[in-house]
């Protein structure tokens, strides 16, 4: 009973602090909103709604007699400036390569598309080769990748025509026949038509080459919600662990204020007092998780999973976070040390656990990071929530919950022993 009294007293004290409310509930929610809008550019209505990329195009290409006045470079410029690409590209035409590069250097555009002088010659000649240069701002990745995809699509159309012509010429020659200029021009034209039809297929929204199968099927949640829920799971774990450690600091605060030594002089056993402190952290975290899960579920439509697995994960995360908080507090000399060690330490551990959220470049790195994240307690909690968010059930999370409970038991024991020695 005394244990419960102590827990309730601490809960009441915490509830009176505006900072507690802001940090435990306000900031995690604010972070979710922040990411919700940040990812709006990538996943507007469940589809990829990409930010517009500013490009400068310089066309140095010259039509040749062989091409009959046709300019592959001009065709590329027209294609990039077309209304169909207006949602993706904002095109300005530069006079020369230096001007286009300067526009990138001055951050007026993200990419300069430099069409070489011999593009048409290379498209129609037999031996010539040409390369279109994309000069990009090195801080950008998404925009240049989009531009490269678009330019490559058209360039592959020209390259394919040339390959088709070369193949016909050589194969016919191999059989002792000769392909005349008209026949070759006809082949190039037919290939061009086929390539254009392929492009139109993409414009109509259906992918004529690939059957895209998203993991989790077509019926999964909105793409933006999926991204947000992953980020939010990590953020929730971070804030829960930080709240736990910060709440455990109340033991040191009471020690410094002299109330704790006074409590120890009463008949209440030391274990009851520390147990009360643990219960206070436990209740705080349960409330925090329940509020965050319910509020984000209602506002963002995040599906955290079915009640039983969610309850199991909540319980395991709370036990682990509360025990870890108690353990961390037991390592501290005083509350002053708590600020930087808890602030810094929890940030570090939380970011290690959330590393996969930021690792967009390499699945190889992800493999290592997934393992490293399990070396910190936060990592297990993040793993459990992510399992639930990707449709996992009790069978997927029971062992993670067991690990968390076991780790919680260890941290609790170590923390309690250290406090007992400290207050002996």
């Amino acid at each position: 009973m005394k244990t419960l009294d102590i827990a309730l007293k601490d809960l009441l004290r915490a509830a009176r602090s505006a900072f507690f409310w802001v940090f435990a509930f306000g900031v995690p929610f604010l972070t979710a909103v922040l990411f919700y809008f940040a990812f709006g550019g990538l996943a507007g209505q469940g589809d990829f709604d990409l930010p517009k990329t500013a490009i400068a195009v310089v066309n140095l290409d010259e039509p040749t007699a062989l091409s009959g006045g046709f300019s592959a470079g001009q065709m590329l410029v027209d294609f990039l400036s077309s209304d169909e690409l207006g949602q993706l590209l904002q095109v300005t035409v530069a006079d020369d390569a230096a001007g286009a590069r300067a526009a990138v250097d001055n951050q007026q555009v993200g990419v300069a598309v430099i069409i070489p002088a011999g593009l048409t010659t290379a498209a129609f000649g037999s031996q010539e080769r040409a390369a279109i240069e994309l000069y990009q701002d090195p801080t950008l990745t998404l925009g240049p990748s989009i531009v490269k995809g678009i330019v490559s699509q058209l360039v592959d159309g020209f390259a394919g025509s040339k390959i088709a012509v070369d193949v016909a010429r050589e194969q016919l020659a191999g059989q002792g026949a000769t392909a005349g200029p008209v026949a070759l021009q006809n082949i190039a034209m037919q290939y061009g038509q086929w390539s254009a039809q392929l492009g139109e297929g993409f414009e109509e929204g259906a992918n004529p080459l690939l059957d895209i199968r998203p993991i989790g099927g077509e019926e999964g949640p909105d793409l933006r919600i999926r991204i947000i829920s992953q980020v939010l799971a990590g953020m929730m774990v971070f804030y829960v662990f930080t709240t736990a450690a910060n709440s455990a600091i109340s033991i040191l605060q009471e020690e410094e204020a002299g109330t704790l030594p006074r409590l120890f002089t009463t008949p209440t056993p030391q274990s009851n007092i520390l147990g009360g402190k643990f219960l206070y952290i436990f209740f705080t975290l349960v409330i925090q998780i329940v509020v965050l899960v319910v509020v984000t579920g209602l506002i963002f439509g995040i599906d955290w999973g079915t009640p039983l697995p969610v309850a199991v994960v909540t319980l395991a995360v709370v036990v682990l976070a509360a025990s870890f908080g108690l353990f961390v507090a037991s390592l501290l000399k005083d509350t002053r040390q708590g600020g930087i060690v808890i602030g810094g330490g929890m940030t570090m551990l939380g970011m290690v656990a959330m590393a996969r959220t930021f690792g967009v470049a390499s699945p190889d790195a992800m493999g290592v990071v997934n393992v490293i994240s399990l070396f910190v307690p936060h990592g297990w909690a993040v793993r459990a929530w992510q399992e639930l968010l990707t449709g996992g059930g009790l069978s997927d999370i029971w062992w993670i919950a067991l690990v968390m409970l076991a780790l919680g038991g260890l941290f609790f024991t170590f923390g309690l022993l250290r406090f007992r020695r400290r207050f002996a």
Binding site: F39, A131, I227
Partner: protein
């Protein structure tokens, strides 16, 4: 002199505690390393791994598709032997693979038909940018295989129009030879698109093909982490002000010869030196370990560091003024660190965010600090390029310092 004495006292108070000092220095170093690694550093083949489940056996076109994916500078195909659909989905979900390609049985036969209506299945996580990059590259390879079939058809029709084939077998042989030649030609196409970058970390062509350079990846990480942890460094520093106010040390100081201005400046100077020291360590680490070329424009980098440190120290003064206790000081520092780092693009590059978010992001000093640093170490620009970011940072510094001094309480 008193200002310096007070600053030195604060600094010795901060550094005396080895745990705090360790976090101030070790944490940003650990994170620069981790983020550089995450964004691809330290790997020999940085191409995105793509699993391939070839259900079409040893058909010419499925092997041709594999070969065309193999020459890609972006994706690295790996044959998935004996894997089922659920295993593949699991591998993609666990991010062991950027995507998986399933070449269906009969792909070769279907694609050879005049209609050519054969598709390969791509399993991916649409929320992953790596997957979208991989999808573009897979699509290009599939389009090239289809193009090779088209070229073979056109050659066959051309020969048939001229001389005709003796029988179906001769026609099939002609088609196969033309197809093989076209697939080979696509492995080194006559028209290509090359990417070059401006700046100090301009990537060599061979590195570009592999997806970037180590120093480039580290440079991107380095700037964001430095800015984020400059704010994190305030957790302890701002707390000193709170503790001195709580313990009445500030009031006691007022009874000495030191003036109010000197007290404020002393504490401010301590924070400034601490943040600058932290940045110097990070710059040295980035330069020596990751080859991020901070020293290519030392004056420009120094200016950004100074402007960033002035703003951060002013923010520290404001936090130390507003916080009533140590807990509030820590929470305020952490909250500001998360909000400003998130909005300013330290975590997700602003390039990925909508226009409105980018505009809001540039209302934060963090975005300007990252711009200033990246202008030098990533874009390779000079002193001129950091003047605007520095001016904005100094503007924020003046506002925070002004508010901090205005609201400063000695009791």
């Amino acid at each position: 002199m008193r200002v310096i004495d007070l600053a030195l006292k604060d600094l010795s108070q901060l550094l005396r505690d080895w745990k705090s000092a360790l976090f101030l220095v070790a944490m940003p170093i650990v994170f620069t390393t981790m983020f550089s690694f995450l964004f691809g550093g330290g790997q020999e083949d940085m191409r995105l791994p793509v699993g391939v489940w070839n259900q079409d056996g040893g058909s010419v076109l499925s092997i041709g598709l594999m070969e065309l994916m193999q020459v890609s500078g972006v994706i690295r195909p790996q044959l998935l032997e004996e894997k089922g659909a659920s295993d593949i989905e699991r591998m993609v979900r666990n991010e062991d693979l950027a995507a998986a390609v399933i070449i269906p049985a009969g792909y070769d036969d279907l694609l050879r038909l005049p209609s050519g209506d054969a598709r390969v299945t791509v399993v991916l996580d649409e929320a992953s940018t790596a997957a979208i990059t991989a999808q573009n590259e897979i699509q290009a390879a599939v389009a090239r295989v289809s193009g090779a079939v088209q070229a073979a058809h056109l050659s066959t029709e051309a020969f048939e129009g001229q001389a005709g084939f003796a029988d179906e077998a001769a026609k099939r042989q002609f088609f196969d030879e033309a197809l093989a030649q076209a697939i080979t030609a696509w492995q080194d196409p006559p028209l290509t698109v090359t990417t070059t970058q401006s700046g100090a970390i301009a990537v060599a062509p061979e590195e570009e093909e592999d997806g970037g350079s180590d120093s480039g990846n580290a440079a991107h990480s380095s700037a964001g982490i430095m800015v984020q942890f400059a704010i994190a460094g305030l957790i302890g520093a701002a707390e000193i002000l709170v503790v001195e106010r709580k313990t009445k040390a500030l009031q006691r100081l007022l009874t000495t010869a030191i003036s109010r201005v000197e007290i404020i400046l002393g504490h401010f100077l301590a924070m400034l030196i601490m943040i600058l020291g932290q940045m110097v360590i990070l710059v040295a680490f980035g330069q020596l370990v990751f080859g991020v070329d901070y020293l290519r424009e030392p004056l420009a980098i120094l200016l950004v560091m100074l402007a960033l440190a002035l703003w951060t120290a002013s923010l520290g003064l404001l936090i130390g003024t507003l916080a009533k206790n140590e807990e509030q000081s820590t929470m305020l520092s952490l909250m500001l660190m998360f909000v400003l780092a998130g909005l300013g693009g330290a975590w997700i590059p602003l390039e990925f965010t909508p226009k409105a978010f980018q505009t809001v992001g540039h209302l934060t000093p963090t975005a300007w600090a990252i711009d200033g640093l990246e202008n030098v170490i990533v874009r390779g620009l000079g002193l001129q390029s950091v003047l605007l970011p520095c001016a904005v940072l100094l503007g924020f510094a003046v506002v925070c310092f002004g508010l901090g001094v205005w609201r400063f309480k000695f009791e």
